[in-house]
Symmetry: C2
Subunit: 123 residues, 2 copies
């Protein structure tokens, strides 16, 4: 048998990743996704790099599988979008969708994260 069939029947060769539609994104889910230091770092890094980053560009003090886990949480809760680009997986903030649903929220969180880092770093 070929090794190609995926459980979901999705075509192999264009690995697709499920993203919630904009209208299915919930505030509590977004907050939950952001309520983890690791994921907060990821989101800050994505925001800082205006464009897309691959997973390895953000070095985190956790294992590869844990890293995958955090990126998936962010994607499934609607905070980032991920697409395969060759062998890499590029990640980007869903700024437009989040801004439309919860205007100002992400910027507020990012700003708060920056302020806290400065405060704790210099103390």
């Amino acid at each position: 048998m070929p090794t190609v069939t995926t459980a979901t029947g999705a075509p192999s060769g264009s690995r697709s990743l499920p993203h919630p539609a904009r209208e299915d994104i919930r505030l509590a889910d977004v907050l939950h996704a952001l309520a983890d230091p690791m994921r907060l770092r990821i989101v800050c890094a994505l925001a800082a790099a205006e464009g897309e980053l691959n997973c390895a560009d953000i070095e985190l003090p956790v294992s590869k599988s844990t890293c995958t886990h955090h990126f998936r949480v962010l994607r499934e809760h609607g905070v980032i979008q991920q697409i395969y680009r060759g062998t890499a997986k590029m990640n980007g903030l869903r700024r437009a969708d989040l801004e439309e649903l919860f205007p100002g929220l992400i910027d507020g969180v990012l700003r708060a994260a920056g302020l806290q880092e400065r405060r704790l770093g210099e103390q």
Copy 2:
């Protein structure tokens, strides 16, 4: 032996509740505290009522003990402050502290919650 001694040695008759100092409040903790539909409702209610509310003023579809739990999470993570006033326990948002640490954050969350409620309610 009298029944009055509390485990912590706190004087009975002025039941005291531990609150984190402002500088100990962490963004991830605040987001985590807000990342629950029940607690979001509590916070919205407290924000709407400019002053203090006792626990029972916010009716939630959960048991009394679960309610206690959620209020404690909010307090221990620095989102609300609670004080005993006779037989009632009054709750208030720690607006000033949060505003100083994370300016605009709470308002952003509250606004997002309002927008989402309107969006989901009318659809």
